[in-house]
Symmetry: C2
Subunit: 454 residues, 2 copies
């Protein structure tokens, strides 16, 4: 019996595909990483089916990659060892909203925007906002974050419970619905960010928040990047509970204007957002304005109406796509270090120098409230020189961050792109991670070659 | 060579003790659990010494228990398998304050109040407040939380990095100084809450916060416990970003007055605190007052001056000691379930019934903003009937919580007291925890018998 025959015993044949187009669709992500075709793609509808798939994979010693929507930037979902790709498109239901408990239960294929629409009916929102309309399963797998984590935390902070299918098909739960717990080991934290290397997520219980009484967003334009960074640091130091604080450099502002048909000044800009009650917000915004002006902020524009605010954030979120649009045929290598905030100004300066030295085009955007910034490097994925230049820039940026207590990836995950930095970052703790992997997935079937470099 | 001789080769003899008084001091915690003497207590001064101690323990296959200040409530630090107790009293330095990064590095023996004094110089504070003046190492080991976690999160949320000595003496770091990371597996989360069963913490890097511009605390007295709980739930539903919200029942208020020389009304009471800017706070407090009055709040007293606020929280924190003071010779069994907030009113009602049926004395206090509440059961630890009654109450409360998606321990940890509920709570995920333990501590030397019931 072939593996296809074995899969046909557990899934309807229309939920199994080795059609070229389908294989092709599951061979890559949004990054510069080289695609690779899997052997077969399956579309389970239930946890039980995922469990059966894992049992088949075990029997045939076949690698399994979990696939959300392919918005990964580090090759996390590319099936380099071939085998089975599990696509969760058919497991896309919001199972339960518990407004009184500020909780929601979803299947892994639910996307961020789909959840947002559902929660709005209850006056609730889900806080993690990575930009892309990723699946919640994928966001948990890479421990995604984004613009709002400075106030609400990262994906790991929102996960109360995961239903996980382990390598041998066993189904476990990693947590509960309690807001906190000191019971057992923290499996929630271990599985979030494991990028499909420890198990397949089949259900997620997530924390949600009430939509704030008042939201105010703004843009602050500066003469220099240094002044913009210094202004952000002063806002954080002042203890203003800012909900979003994003840095966009002049090159990125130019791309934003081209792509989003906006007329923002093409200078280093900080995008801000405040959530709270009306009186508190007024005081926070007034204080922030003072701080921004202290750093010679040139233009300051605040918008409290929803449409203007959405336009602002959409423009910000589309920065990466804007670059891709301007450089047809090119791909993106996006750096992703996160450093202690006191090291941020130096890190960005060093990163900018590295890009200039490389001769590549690269815009800077960043979730600077967390000390996390990206350089969007435009590369010709078929040109080894381009790739090597980008790798060199990335390496320099990562080394700078690691030397100063930072991390090689703030939010994109390790995948294949950051595997080579794991030893430098984690030292002998990497051995502990390998031991954990070895007992949970003794045959190395779950997304092999990712996170832990062999 | 005896193990004592081996230890003398690595530690000065005055840092090793098998003196009866010292053994006795390290034989128990603050709970009803039966004490047990260790063989020897050691007082290392450095990480390297802890590493050497673990190597000796490995060689002699001797159990090792890490001991902070013995404020555990579940027997986490009682050396039931005898062996070595590591006391971190001499590792009690605040190593580095990084105000710009909102970070502090401490040794494990630093206590909460010691850290508070140090941070105040920088206008900073550490948010986790379990009541007892525990060590930071102990608080990380049990994943402590307390009154402020409704706003600032639990111990696990504050830990950026741990230096850990593993079972074989290897020294690892579990994280970095970055505010967020998607690199590797989340060892921080795994080690926090592991109660000394996976390694010994020798250094902690913790997140700290700026002291809020304005703090306002208050007391709200109700006619019934049900109304008090309903009022709390309405505050949370309204999205008011409350910093503390504590429930104290009539019996506990009586003990508070006796012990703290206060004259509070002896009725179900909610203690509240707000942190924020002046204008925002004013609006939050006004809104809260309306909500409290909707629930027939009888007395409402707010205090913004520091001394009055401190008196209020000291009284609240001393509730457990107040009961012990009123019942000399008795010990306490403190229940610790945490449930989804929608289940809280029912859980407390059920818990109160269980106490009444048992005939035991027991006051209710709770970090109700998180759905976490305690019943302080007074027991004669030498009377098996008393212990059995208390166990029966505890069992009923835990079963009620687990049936409704809660946890058997919100913040006290598993130790020996909650080990029997691990299987009911975690199901087959317990097997995964056991596997993790088995690869990290193959000889089961680190705090054996705790967390994972054999």
């Amino acid at each position: 019996m072939t593996i296809l025959d074995a899969l046909k015993k557990i899934l309807p044949s229309e939920h199994i595909s080795d059609n070229d187009t389908v294989l092709e669709q599951h061979s890559s992500d949004e990054s510069y990483h080289t695609p690779k075709l899997p052997d077969v793609v399956v579309f389970p509808q239930t946890t039980e089916e995922v469990s059966q798939i894992m049992k088949v994979a075990c029997e045939y010693k076949t690698p399994v990659v979990s696939y959300g929507l392919g918005t990964s930037l580090e090759g996390s979902v590319i099936p380099y060892e071939k085998g089975i790709v599990i696509d969760y498109t058919l497991m896309n239901k919001v199972l339960e909203v518990r407004p009184d408990d500020f909780l929601v239960k979803v299947q892994p294929g639910v996307t961020r925007k789909q959840l947002e629409r559902e929660l709005k009916k209850y006056g609730l929102f889900f806080s993690v906002d990575p930009g892309a309309d990723a699946t919640l399963g994928g966001m948990a797998a890479t421990n995604a974050s984004g613009t709002t984590s400075v106030k609400y935390g990262i994906m790991r902070d929102q996960v109360r419970d995961l239903e996980v299918v382990l390598a041998d098909g066993t189904i476990i739960h990693t947590g509960s619905m309690a807001a906190k717990s000191s019971s057992g080991y923290h499996l929630n934290g271990l599985f979030v960010g494991s990028e499909g290397t420890l198990g397949c997520f089949t259900e997620l219980t997530l924390k949600v928040h009430g939509i704030p009484e008042q939201i105010m967003a703004g843009r602050a334009a500066f003469q220099t990047l240094d002044e913009a960074v210094a202004a952000v640091i002063s806002i954080l130091q002042a203890g203003i509970p800012i909900a979003r604080v994003e840095l966009v450099d002049d090159q990125s502002m130019k791309q934003i204007n081209l792509f989003s048909d906006t007329t923002y000044r093409e200078v280093p800009t900080v995008f801000l957002e405040f959530h709270g009650n009306e009186a508190g917000l007024k005081q926070d915004v007034a204080f922030t304005k003072d701080l921004l002006e202290d750093h010679r902020c040139q233009v300051l524009a605040f918008e409290s109406n929803t449409a203007a605010r959405n336009r602002l954030w959409e423009a910000r979120h589309n920065t990466a796509y804007a670059f891709l649009h301007s450089y047809p045929g090119k791909k993106q290598m996006v750096t992703d270090v996160c450093v202690p905030i006191s090291e941020l100004a130096g890190a960005i300066k060093d990163g900018r120098k590295a890009v200039e030295a490389s001769g590549l085009t690269g815009g800077i955007v960043g979730h600077v409230g967390d000390g996390n910034y990206h350089i969007l490097l435009m590369v010709d994925a078929d040109d080894p020189t381009d790739i090597e230049k980008a790798n060199q820039v990335n390496r320099q940026i990562v080394e700078y961050a690691l030397k100063r207590g930072g991390t090689c990836t703030g939010e994109h995950g390790v995948g294949i792109g950051k595997a080579k930095y794991q030893e430098a970052e984690h030292g002998n703790a990497l051995e502990i991670m390998r031991k954990v992997k070895s007992v949970l997935d003794p045959n190395n079937l779950l997304n092999p070659g990712k996170v832990l470099y062999d």
